[in-house]
Each structure stands twice: as C-alpha cells, then as structure tokens.
C-alpha cells in the first residue's frame, strides 16, 4: 500500500511538471489553432539552455530567470517567421512545425553535440516518502510548477494583456473591432507558450537528461493531457496532466510498466469515446 501511495504522489509531482509544459501547448492551440509538433523541442531547448547557463555562469538558479526570457524571444521570432505566414491553415501548421522540430533538434545537435548529459540537481538531499527514498528536488520542481501555473492564470485573469488574450481567443473579429491588437496578441501568446515549455525544461532538466531529442518523448504525453483536458481548455489541461501521471504511477506500482502505459492510453480512448471534446469540454472558450 505504501508503494501505491508513494508512486501516486510521484505521479502528481511529475504530472505538475508535465502540466506546465502542456499548458504552453494548450494556449498555442486554443488561440492560434496551431497543432504544434515542435512543442516538445521548445522543452528540449529549455533543458539545453539551462545546462548552458550552468556551464557558463556556474549558477543554476539564474536559468530560472534567463531561460524563459530567451524562450520568449525565440517564440517571437518563430511566430513571425514560421507561424504567421501559415495562420488559419491547420494542415500546414503540422508540416511547418514538424520542419521546425527537425531544425531545432539538428541545430542543437550541431551546436551542443549529440551525447546526452546530466544536470546535477541544485538540491541533492532525499527524504523517506512512504518507504521510498525520494529526491527533495522533485518536490521543489513541483512547487515551482504550481507557482508558475498560478502566475500564468493570474496573468490571464487579472491583467489587461490577459483579458485581451481571452478576448481574442473567444472572438478574434470582435476583439479586433474593439481595438485589441490581435496580431500582437497572437505573437505574445505563442512566445508565452515557448517560454513556459522552456521553463518546464529548466525545472525538469536535473530529473531527466539534457539531449537534442529530449522533447520527442514528452510531446505525446503533453498532447494526451491537452486532448483529455479539452482542446484549448487551460484548466482542463492542467487537471488532465496531473490525473494521467497519477493514474500511470498508481498502475505502475502493481502492474507491468508497459501495461500501465497501455492503461493510460486506454483511459484516453475511453474519455474520447464518451466525451469527444475532452473531460472538461464545458469550459472551453
């Protein structure tokens, strides 16, 4: 029983980190209707930049500040050069972001090399958690993820820019007619999505690894969270990410690991059969 609780809690911790990354994917889809295949690579860029900041400055904490800013700036450039020209063409967005994904991966491989590396966690102690030797950094990572998610929702609901973002998301034509700079909002939203994935990379880098393909495996899980949460439903995405990771963690405590993975895929299929617009579809837009 102890193991079930421990792995369930670990699932929640991991789910919160995933939620931070998936939230970026969800806002990009919700506002821009872009199916962003490169989102996992935004996460990967975050891990690599975190490693780079630590390597050059010797201070890991600086990465929490610098990397999201660099991510935001990269997001602005990519939105202008890649996303804007194909706006309103969902099929093209898949091809374009797939190409972007390859460019980012191979760019990092050519610049930083192909060998995976590790970031030593800035907090190295462990605690006993229901019979499991558990890394304190993971709890810190979960706390940072919660803080970032709360900050994002605060920004979305309590600032003028956030209100504009919601307005453009709800009805872009009327918002434009009301004088809201929709073009600028699209750019900021995309850049914000990149920055959040990059921050997720900084948070997760000491837990996973730093390598040019780090984003490939994280993308399907993010998509699952976005779909189960309801496409473009931000609160739903967060809840779905945590629920999925919790479910898989609990399953893995008594079932074969592969069965646990299949179980979460089955859960997604059932949700889509019963509620094709996601488990929290009612709150969409």
């Amino acid at each position: 029983m102890e193991l079930v609780i421990a792995l369930g809690m670990n699932g929640i911790v991991w789910g919160l980190i995933i939620a931070l990354i998936a939230l970026g994917l969800s806002i990009i889809f919700g506002l821009l209707d872009i199916i962003n295949i490169a989102h996992g690579d935004f996460f990967m860029v975050g891990t690599v930049l975190a490693w780079f900041v630590l390597d050059t400055t010797g201070n890991y904490w600086l990465a929490f500040l610098i990397v999201p800013i660099i991510g935001f700036a990269m997001g602005v450039v990519i939105e202008y050069t890649v996303i804007q020209p194909i706006k309103n063409a969902a099929a093209l967005s898949i091809v374009a972001t797939f190409g972007l994904s390859i460019i980012l991966q191979e760019g990092v491989r050519a610049t930083f090399g192909a060998a995976p590396t590790r970031l030593v966690p800035p907090i190295q102690s462990t605690i006993q958690m229901f019979g499991l030797e558990y890394e304190v950094y993971r709890l810190f990572a979960a706390a940072v993820s919660i803080a970032a998610i709360l900050l994002f929702f605060g920004f979305l609901h309590r600032t003028k820019m956030g209100t504009w973002m919601r307005a453009v998301r709800y009805d872009p034509e009327t918002a434009t007619a009301m004088g809201i700079p929709a073009r600028k909002i699209y750019m900021i939203t995309f850049a914000l999505g990149f920055a959040m994935a990059a921050l997720g990379g900084v948070v997760a880098a000491p837990i996973t690894t730093v390598d040019f393909q780090a984003g490939v495996d994280i993308l399907p899980f993010c998509f699952m969270a976005v779909i189960i949460g309801g496409l473009g439903n931000l609160e739903g995405t967060v809840a779905a990410a945590v629920m999925l990771a919790f479910f898989e963690g609990v399953m893995a405590s008594f079932a074969d690991p592969t069965i646990a993975r299949i179980g979460s895929l089955c859960l997604m299929s059932i949700v889509l059969l019963i509620r094709p617009h996601g488990i929290f579809a009612g709150a969409t837009r």
């Binding site: 193991l3 996973t208 690894t209 893995a252 405590s253 690991p257």
Partner: protein
C-alpha cells in the same frame, strides 16, 4: 573525389510547344539515357577488375545514434586513408561510399540498397544500430553482399544470420558469457535486470538469465521500461530489496536518466550496479556528475590507454585524436564510442586481408572472399588495435578480449581482462553458416 553534379545541370528544359521531331529527339535521348542508367546500375554485378574497390559504410550521422555515428565515420575514414596511403587493396584504391541511416531502420535499409545498387559497393561496413542492422541483413543477403554488423543484437550472427553476415565485435551472447562468471563471483548471486522494452534489452535478459541460473544464481522478475519513459521512479521502485546486482542495459538519454535517478534514490548504496559498455558509450562520466560512480561495465576495448598499454593502441588513440584517459576528442566535447567504433576501423582491414588472400577482383569472386573471412586470424597491430582476434568460421563472430572495468573518480579502472580463449570456451557456436548456401 566524385564529380559533383550541379542542381542546375539536372533542371529540365521548359517545354515551349512540341513538334513531332522534337518529340522523337526527346524519346530517343530518353531511351539512350535509360539504357545507360540500366548498364550503370547493373555493371557492378558483373566483372569489374580495375578502378577503385567501393566499400559502403552504413553510418548513423544524424538522429539518436549520431554521438556514436560520428566515431564510426571517423574510424572508417581513418582506415581508408591508411589503406590508400599504403597502396590500397591489391593495388586498387578503396573508395568509401557513406550513407547516413538517420538512426532509423527504414531509412537505413533503403539506403543500404542504394549503396549496393547505385554506388556499387561490393562490401558493407554496417550499422551499430541493432534495428538497422537487422533490417539490413536480408537486403545484403538478397544482393549477395558481405555485411559487417557493429551492433550487439545476437540475431545478426544467429537466427537471422546468413553466409553474408559477419561481426568482429561482441553480441549479447558473448557479453553474457564474458561478464556473468566474474560478476557472479564478485558482485552477487541475486540479480534484477532493468532494460528498455525492445529486442536489445530482452536479448540481454535472456542470455544473462540462462547463465546466471546455470551458475546457481537467482534472477528476479525483469523490469522492462517502455520506450520514451522520462520518469523512471515507478520502475526503480519495483526493484526487490534482496537484489545484490542490478543489471541495466539502457542506451543514450535513457541510460543517463537511469543512472541519474537511481543515484538520487541511493540504489547504488544498497546493491552493486553492473552494465555493458553500450550504456556509457560516447559519454564521459565527468559530464554526468558522478552518476556512474562505482558502476561496473563490461567493455570491448578499455577506455584508458594504460589498461592495454601497447604501441597499436597508442597509435590508434593518436589517429583518433583523443586523450589517453577519458577518450575525449582534443578540442571538442565528443567522447569516443570506443567499445564499438573500432569495428568500423578494423573491418576495413579485415576486408583488405580477405580480398588479398582470395584474389578477389569483382563481385563474381565474393564466394572466395567469404571463405577467406571464415576463420580469419587477426594480430594485435595498427590494423587491429583492439587486439588479436579470430573471426570464427562457424558463426562469423569475432572472438575478442573483453574488459571488466569500474568507474572510480570518473575514470574507467580495469578489474579483470577476460581473454578471448576463456570466452571461446564458454561460447560454443550455435550456428554454422558455412553450411548455408551462397
């Protein structure tokens, strides 16, 4: 150097209205071109006794295996340069035709066909990616072209092998035979194996399990981790407490994640960690913050010079431009994939020996070259810096010295050399490819 064709040379003329004469001219030109192309594609299958010998290299220059592929490419190029500087093979220059597999079995298999049919490669120095080499072997066999695997899946010189399939390095069968006796005696008898849920991991599990149980050890339920897993805690938590030896066979990023996360859970304080060189290949222990400290690795080639301190090894290290302790490339952060990449270097010298011994002139002489390869002896030299070895006639497998090392202060420290004679005694051939038809 091959002549480069400019893209503009291939650009078709824009049709501006067609007459009967222009149509006939175009059709005749097309027919002539098709005939030429057909002859070009098929001439390699027939006598071609002068000009360079084309050897194909199927290599992972991009994708997940590119940190290894860089070294396989460097090794093959270095060997070709040495061979050509020394007068080539039977007085003929060697031309290396390189194909990037993109670390993808489908792309690798497609490009192998192109190497043989379009580039007219007569021999193939093959992939280190087990999936690619297993996808490639049927094609090499179909096109009657000797293929050297560099990966470890035992099937390449086992159930899926053929008369055309060779491997100078080790497979999972050999690695189990080399490592288990020492590990059982020195590390413990209660084993748990954790590996990625695909052929390579399962192959290691099956081969090791047989030997451990035969030696009186206990193997707990295996833990097969789904591919693409980022968080390993749910799987590490399932390792039984009574485990004395945790045997892991992850690759690349998943390997680093495994060492990182087991360290944070302090598993290395409770049990002995044992693995094979593929899990730490192209990675410097110093770059992963001590996560592999104390782990035992079975290597095919010791990373520091001091544990095979001879002239061929020293010269090979100079040739590769790496430092003699960590095998890191001078002036870069790349670490040599030393336990595997030597095969892409030595295989070219293996081919040189077989071609010269058999008097091979063209593809029609392939049978003679294969017969020369079967049972080929190689002596420790600059051509074979990994050491003296034999390419066993029956199963086309290299019998080599192996090295049990431990990471101490981020350095590989040799604990025991397992001589090839000792290995051969524990590794009877399970196949005899000499009985297979050419």
């Amino acid at each position: 150097m091959t002549k480069k064709t400019k893209i503009t040379d291939l650009k078709p003329d824009t049709p501006k209205g067609q007459t009967r004469r222009s149509f006939l001219q175009t059709a005749m030109a097309g027919g002539a071109a098709a005939t030429t192309a057909y002859l070009g594609l098929t001439q390699g299958l027939f006598a071609k006794e002068s000009g360079p010998i084309v050897i194909g290299h199927q290599c992972e220059l991009t994708g997940g295996f590119s940190s290894w592929g860089y070294w396989h490419d460097k090794c093959a190029k270095a060997a070709v340069k040495l061979i050509n500087d020394g007068g080539g093979i039977s007085g003929r220059k060697v031309e290396l035709a390189i194909a990037d597999t993109e670390s993808n079995p489908a792309a690798g298999a497609r490009k192998l066909r192109s190497l043989i049919q379009r580039k007219k490669a007569s021999f193939i120095v093959g992939s280190v990616h087990s999936g690619i080499m297993l996808a490639s072997l049927p094609i090499a066999t179909e096109l009657k072209t000797p293929y050297f695997s560099a990966g470890e899946a035992t099937e390449a010189t086992g159930s899926k092998g053929s008369r055309y399939s060779f491997r100078t390095g080790t497979d999972t069968y050999a690695l189990a035979a080399a490592g288990v006796p020492w590990a059982m005696e020195n590390l413990g008898k209660n084993w748990t194996m954790i590996f990625p849920d695909y052929a390579w991991g399962h192959s290691h599990h099956q081969e090791h399990r047989k030997l451990i149980e035969a030696a009186g050890g206990k193997v707990n339920d295996p833990i097969a981790v789904p591919l693409g897993t980022k968080d390993l805690v749910p799987y590490l938590a399932r390792i039984p407490e009574e485990t004395e030896v945790l045997f892991s066979v992850f690759f690349g990023a998943l390997s680093v994640a495994f060492y990182t996360q087991q360290k944070s859970m302090r598993l290395d304080e409770k049990m002995k960690m044992y693995s094979v060189s593929g899990t730490i290949e192209a990675i410097d222990p110093r770059d992963i913050g001590g996560a592999t400290e104390g782990v035992y690795f079975l290597e095919n080639f010791p990373r520091p010079l001091e544990f095979k301190n001879d002239e061929p090894h020293k010269k090979f290290i100079e040739l590769m431009d790496v430092d003699p302790v960590y095998a890191k490339e001078n002036g870069s952060k790349r670490v040599m994939a030393k336990s595997h990449a030597w095969q892409s270097y030595e295989n070219l010298f293996v081919l040189k020996a077989a071609i010269e011994a058999s008097g091979w002139q063209s593809k029609k002489d392939t049978q003679g070259a294969i017969e020369a390869l079967e049972g080929l002896q190689m002596k420790n030299s600059l051509s074979h810096p990994q050491g003296t070895k034999v390419l066993r006639a029956e199963d086309h497998s290299g019998m080599i010295d192996c090295y049990m090392s431990r990471v101490e202060d981020s350095k590989f420290v040799l604990k025991k050399r397992i001589p090839r004679e000792e290995l051969m005694a524990k590794l009877p051939p399970r196949y005899d490819f000499r009985k297979y038809k050419l």
